[in-house]
């Protein structure tokens, strides 16, 4: 079912480029299935899958040495200390950097003696990112990385994903937050019931709906949206969301500041 999608997102062999590729779609669309096929956890019903030019089933260990994966449902034993799984996972790969460097990248170095059970949800996800990065993979697969994170932890995770891209790895992530896909991804595939219904850069996908410009006003008092909506050419009127309030009050970057220019 996901043949076209997987083909489209494999970077050219030998020249991994930094890209964040998003797979979005409703629950049950097949987002996780695509990542499972790519990591060799699931055998595709039909059609070839290639990751870095290799077959994730036939060449599973060769593929797994070069990809880093964060799974949706995975837990580490509570009794482990944060640094231990990072050192352990480093030993699984033929070539690895300093395991503590991976912890530093995700900002958990100071917590390396803490029990895994004592980590918050966001810290736990960061630990799993560290495990996925410990061998400097060329392709990083992230399955709903931010689903259970609070808005601030979500923004921290986005910063990490951008940093992975800057180092030259290709990131393939699934999400059902459109805002996340819009801000983070270079290209996005929208899938629905196992089929790719759109695949392009974020800008072009938005433009494909027709010309649209966003104008942001800041008002002291509440304004009546209906009068604006009545003006010719106005497609919609948005108000600040509760998430904007939450971020402003809890120290996160106000979302207006980093809204994409359209």
């Amino acid at each position: 079912m996901s043949r076209r999608l997987v083909h489209a997102i494999a970077p050219p062999t030998g020249s991994p480029r930094g890209e964040v590729f998003g797979i979005v779609g409703p629950n049950g669309a097949g987002k996780t299935t695509v990542l499972e096929c790519m990591s060799g956890l699931r055998r595709p019903d039909a059609g070839p899958v290639r990751v870095l030019g290799l077959d994730p089933q036939a060449d599973r260990y060769a593929v797994r040495e070069r990809i880093g994966v964060q799974l949706q449902a995975a837990a580490l034993p509570d009794a482990l200390r944060v640094g231990e799984p990072v050192t352990l996972f480093a030993a699984f790969y033929p070539r690895t950097g300093d395991p503590m460097e991976a912890l530093r990248r995700v900002g958990l170095e100071e917590r390396r003696a803490a029990r895994v059970a004592a980590l918050s949800g966001g810290q736990c996800q960061r630990l799993f990112i560290a495990l996925a990065l410990v061998h400097e993979p060329e392709v990083v697969l992230l399955d709903e990385l931010t689903t259970r994170l609070d808005p601030q932890a979500r923004r921290d995770a986005w910063a990490l994903v951008r940093e992975i891209r800057e180092r030259g790895a290709t990131v393939i992530l699934t999400t059902h937050f459109m805002e996340e896909a819009e801000r983070l991804c270079d290209r996005v595939a929208i899938i629905d019931r196992g089929r790719v219904v759109a695949l392009d850069s974020v800008g072009r996908l938005i433009a494909s709906l027709g010309e649209e410009r966003r104008v942001v006003f800041t008002y002291e008092d509440a304004i009546d949206g209906t009068s604006l909506r009545g003006l010719p050419g106005v497609v919609r009127v948005e108000r600040p969301t509760l998430e904007d309030v939450f971020l402003a009050r809890t120290g996160g970057a106000p979302s207006v500041g980093d809204a994409p220019a359209t």
């Binding site: 797994r64 799974l71 009794a79 231990e84 799984p85 799993f128």
Partner: protein
């Protein structure tokens, strides 16, 4: 090799941090020896070679420890990690299933060996228990029995759906195994049909094997018990290898 060493090290640390498992693997067997020794002493009870109650019971307790390791500790550890998704996370690394199993077996065997050494040390030093058999023979019999029950445990882990079913199935198997082992109630007083069934009890044969080696009986006299215990090892390994699943 690096993966095996690191994994065995981490699994050993996890085993030591699991205080309940440490209690069952190390403290309980030694504690049973103390209880038994205090309650019954080790004065010679039989005419044969002046052996006491504890002389007879030590190898039986050792066999029971191996059986409990296989019935509970091995499948609990493996299925607990499988249910939590830890094994699935391992699966997307280059770690081979055989390497994981080798590291897990190393830790489980190590734990059984320490429990066994503790048990015999407490029995010998605390209550003067003596077998008379060669140490090498006892170690060989213990290694075979331990390996067989570990294989049994990995087979259970491969067949059971999740960790919650382990205490249920473990107890359903443990009670008749213990009752028909000859170590709790003498089989001689049981009806013929029950004794027939007991012939298939691997724990009975592990007790016979360990007791025989401990008392220095010739291996030829233990051949049928060796065959049953080795059979369990082969069958358990085959099921575990065929049905092992990361998730």
């Amino acid at each position: 090799m690096r993966a095996y060493r690191s994994l065995a090290y981490v699994l050993a640390k996890l085993a030591l941090r699991d205080h309940v498992a440490v209690f069952f693997a190390l403290a309980l067997p030694a504690g049973l020896v103390v209880l038994f020794g205090v309650a019954f002493g080790n004065a010679p009870v039989s005419q044969e070679a002046g052996r006491g109650a504890l002389d007879h019971q030590l190898p039986a307790i050792a066999a029971w420890v191996f059986a409990m390791t296989g019935l509970f500790s091995v499948p609990m550890a493996l299925l607990g990690r499988r249910d939590a998704g830890t094994l699935r996370r391992f699966q997307v690394t280059p770690l081979r299933p055989a390497t994981y199993l080798a590291a897990d077996i190393t830790v489980q065997l190590g734990q059984a060996a320490v429990g066994l050494a503790l048990l015999f040390t407490v029995g010998a030093l605390g209550f003067g228990a003596r077998g008379g058999g060669a140490v090498a023979g006892v170690i060989a019999a213990a290694a075979l029995s331990a390996a067989a029950f570990l294989a049994f445990g990995y087979a259970l882990a491969a067949l059971l759906p999740n960790a919650r079913t382990v205490p249920v199935v473990g107890n359903v198997l443990a009670v008749p195994m213990l009752f028909l082992s000859g170590a709790t109630a003498p089989l001689e007083v049981m009806p013929e049909a029950v004794r027939r069934v007991a012939e298939f009890n691997p724990l009975l044969h592990a007790v016979t094997l360990l007791r025989g080696a401990w008392f220095g009986e010739p291996w030829s006299a233990l051949a049928s018990s060796v065959a049953v215990v080795a059979g369990l090892l082969v069958a358990g390994s085959a099921i575990a290898a065929a049905r092992f699943n990361w998730s």
